[in-house]
Symmetry: C2
Subunit: 299 residues, 2 copies
Amino acid sequence: MLYLVGLGLSYESDITVRGLEIVKRCKRVYLEAYTSILMATDKAGLEKFYGREVILADRELVESGSDEILAGADTDDIAFLVVGDPFGATTHTDLVIRARELAIKVETVHNASVMNAIGACGLQLYTFGQAVSIVFFNEHWRPDSFYDKVMENRRIGLHTLLLLDIKVKEQSWENMARGRLIYEPPRYMDIATAAQQLLEVEEKKGLQAYTPSTPCVAASRLGSPTQNFKAGTLQQMAEYDAGEPLHSMIMLGRQVHDLELEYLYEYCDDKEAFKSAVVEDQKFFAPAPYIAPEENFSD
Amino acid sequence: MLYLVGLGLSYESDITVRGLEIVKRCKRVYLEAYTSILMATDKAGLEKFYGREVILADRELVESGSDEILAGADTDDIAFLVVGDPFGATTHTDLVIRARELAIKVETVHNASVMNAIGACGLQLYTFGQAVSIVFFNEHWRPDSFYDKVMENRRIGLHTLLLLDIKVKEQSWENMARGRLIYEPPRYMDIATAAQQLLEVEEKKGLQAYTPSTPCVAASRLGSPTQNFKAGTLQQMAEYDAGEPLHSMIMLGRQVHDLELEYLYEYCDDKEAFKSAVVEDQKFFAPAPYIAPEENFSD
């Protein structure tokens, strides 16, 4: 059996009781270590907590070496640990498809991921549209495909969860070109960088998918002991120091209810200013006012 | 401290290790018991697993008696247990706002909820739009506000998670009118009923937000030992016996990638027919084909 086990967001102890029982009894345990990190622990911390060895699975192993991971899983139990939920922001459907081809059974132990825990900011998960990724801009590559998606969400009044780039075990262009397996230190995009990139793309496109005054919520270290939210405008986010990673961000849509707004006040520097920004922003993409058809008594 | 603790979807042991430690040491432990159920256990099962008493919190207590729940939480630890995640489909922001007013600290222990675990069907959570609720139709009330939302999602190619009604501790009209506190047995909407209601509303509205051939995925007992998925058309869902509750459903949008489709084949009776339905359905709301502007060499 292949067990896909979600680890949740932060602590060693965010694993479920059922997940821990499985990890303890599996023959081999892999930790997917390239799409996210546990904020309050690391491989050594997990090994101590589980009382057993954990094998780091980098991108090469997962994408090219899945048969190595699955070896013997037809008779033995193998666990594949994923930060958050195994079917959260990054899915591992390719590993499951390969397991099916090898007639290996698969069971999932779900856990919280950013995709649902973000509800802790007080905005209803119901009124989120599609999620988008914001990746690090560089000199050569400034991908802005998120822009149209944010526009689509906001046109129908929905909030957008912005997932910020994580670069783990990346090579520099030079090292890659020379075939040197030297990796850059990990980089985690912060709120300010994400907001600056959003502002740059709006300035370039000029279609007012959003403005510098559009209300946003910054989520820092979601699910960790130092979790923090901050509500403000996109412009304020571009200057906000959100502290240690990981960060994610929400851009609000028009559908903000009074209870949601009241909840967000807790995270505002200036409630009145934030409320004004929300009311002002609701004018964008507002449905046309209803005009009753003229009654026609002739004929 | 008030701890909001997510219980996950099914087993007693779906609680996180950290959540269990908190539950064991809290002075009082409430179980929110009216918006969802744990599929593989009940109050007695939880009390045995936790080794302590659990107080059932029904709608009246949570909505009118929150001060009773919060009593003493400024000095003692109180836990409020929620099936899924505390900020999942049903949020408890009102309880948190009341705690803030009373200067009581609040900490959340997140867990999986239908809002992220639904990713186990193989469709990317990224490409889900707003979630909608399908409530039981009766003679007097056939609410169809979901229809416009499904249309909005499908116009931009997104999938829709349909959350199916749960009726726990409801009174009949007659008992309510006579002020008798007699409750009906719990009812959980099944896939077939939801699909029939969807078809009825499409027939009434006639705007082709979807058709009987629109591809869907049925999720039965998500996260439980008997979890099951079924992929088929909406018409097939209207005749599908999905077995024991709880059920939820996804209506697909245009954005289906090859890997997602390959994953869904596992859940089809007839792969080719399902693939045809997906391809056919992608024509709805497809963006207009790109036509290059005519070049104009005059002037």
